[in-house]
Amino acid sequence: MRIAIVDESAARASVIQEGLASLDDCEIFVVTERRGLVARIGEIAPDIVLMDLGNPSRDVLEEYFAVSRALARPIAMFVDESDDESIAASIDAGVSAYVVDGLSANRIKPLIDVAVRRFNAFARLQADLDEARGRLAERETIDKAKRILMDGRGLTEPKAYAEMRKAAMDQGRKIAEIADAIVTAHKLMANNQTGDA
């Protein structure tokens, strides 16, 4: 089975590819380039195409498939109308699957299941990464704010942090928000001193 993975995210494509590599009899092609997409798909002549739902080129690919239906190897998103659940699961996961006519359901299903699981796993990884990045950025801001208080008011580090924590509790906000406010105010004050009125 020839499988084309169309995804502008090379990272996600490789996560899918790795998952599919464990399946029998699969030859996998990854397409990340938008230019020449249709020609490349034509060259690959895939049995299955997996494409992320967020890809703006979906309409281009579907148009190509619509035309190809008039040719030798019709390929379409819905093989079996009664497979709504499977399609719903893929849409949930953010992937669309196009399957060539004539491929049996029991060959397609395991593959789509892998793709769905991998897409979901990648989405969780992304969310974790975003959250970690967010926490790191917060951490940096809190450190900056501490330094401002320490330098500006001659406080020790623990005292500076305690003040921020108190302000957070008093105002019903997060420490990171208080830190943000301190850093921003400091920037504006500094500009005022060095610049014009």
Partner: protein, 404 residues
Amino acid sequence: MAEELTIGFLPLVDACLPILAREHGFAEEEGVSLTLVKDTSWATVLDRLLYGHSDAAHLVAPLAIATTLGRGRPAQPLSVPFVLGLNGNAITLKSDIAQRVGASGRLGDPATVGAALAEVVRERKDAGRPLRFGVVHRYSSHNYMLRYWLAACGIRPDRDVEIATVPPPFCADALEAGEVDGICVGEPWNSVAVERGVGRIVLATAQIWRRGVEKVLALREPVLAGKRDAVERLIRAMCRAGRHFVDPENWDANAAILARADYLDGDPVLIKRAISDRLLLARGGEIVHFPDFMFQYREAANFPWVSQAEWLYTQMVRWDGMAFDPADAVRAARVFRPDVYRSALIGTGEPLPGASSKVEGSLRQKTPVGTQQGIMTLEDNGFFDGKVFDPADLAGYLAALDPT
């Protein structure tokens, strides 16, 4: 307790009514809480609608008909209780071609531009490099307007020129790379191409048909039935948004909202131009005022005329090479739901036309029309070639169109 509706959309200026209904609190005041979900392809907007991720969608009108008839997806009946806008698109050509066929500095006459284009088409076809146009989707009014214009000018789509699918954000790139020689797309994408100096706007699609249905609010039939009350509230909220949108006082504020990253993520200058019916046709040129370039509210623009659905069906038959099927024509007509629109707005200040279907393209001047409520005057709604579409005879209309 507020009812909730999730609405899918593509980042285009004509997604404005649901967006502004939310942002200005109109929906909230009607007791509807809106969640807007952005996608980057019509296929995905449609799939979310069909698989229940969204309750309603900003959709290219022909796609609502195509989906109901089972073209490209297993058939699922969709309903359109509200039209999100007419007009709003333009045709932009590579600068060198535009210079040959267009009127410099202003929008030319479609027949004249078409005649000049036909010469270029002939040359390129003879040279074995036929002209290529990009449209956003085969089931889009962009595709149908472009084809209508070309065919009426003696240029046969698919035979004399190629027409390919190009996503809106890639249109300027495609022109620059020479992948296409022209595009028919909604704003702000024509202006983006012009700003980059890769193309010139030669026609507004409103010059091809002065009142062509563009985007619609589509729902799955069972969802409309199950959430009828919420949908009627949404209709009222979007009517208010339409009134707000067309008021020049609000152009700046609305352009700023639409430009936001979670909406169009675009340039508020270009968006405001579109909203105010102004176009920069070529880089370094003068801005042109084209009245009714965008058309989101006046003349009951949001009323889903059954005749519009039927016109779309005739174009689908024409360009998909299907046989005309009277049963399909009936199914297509049923997609548009003026009954829901009326039910939502009866007793409000909005004008409601007396009829639900009309002869399209027959008006050449201001004409008062009979109403169920309020006063309504329709203006010139002609097709540039003077043809008229009478929904009483779909087969006859199709037969009379130029053979392609």
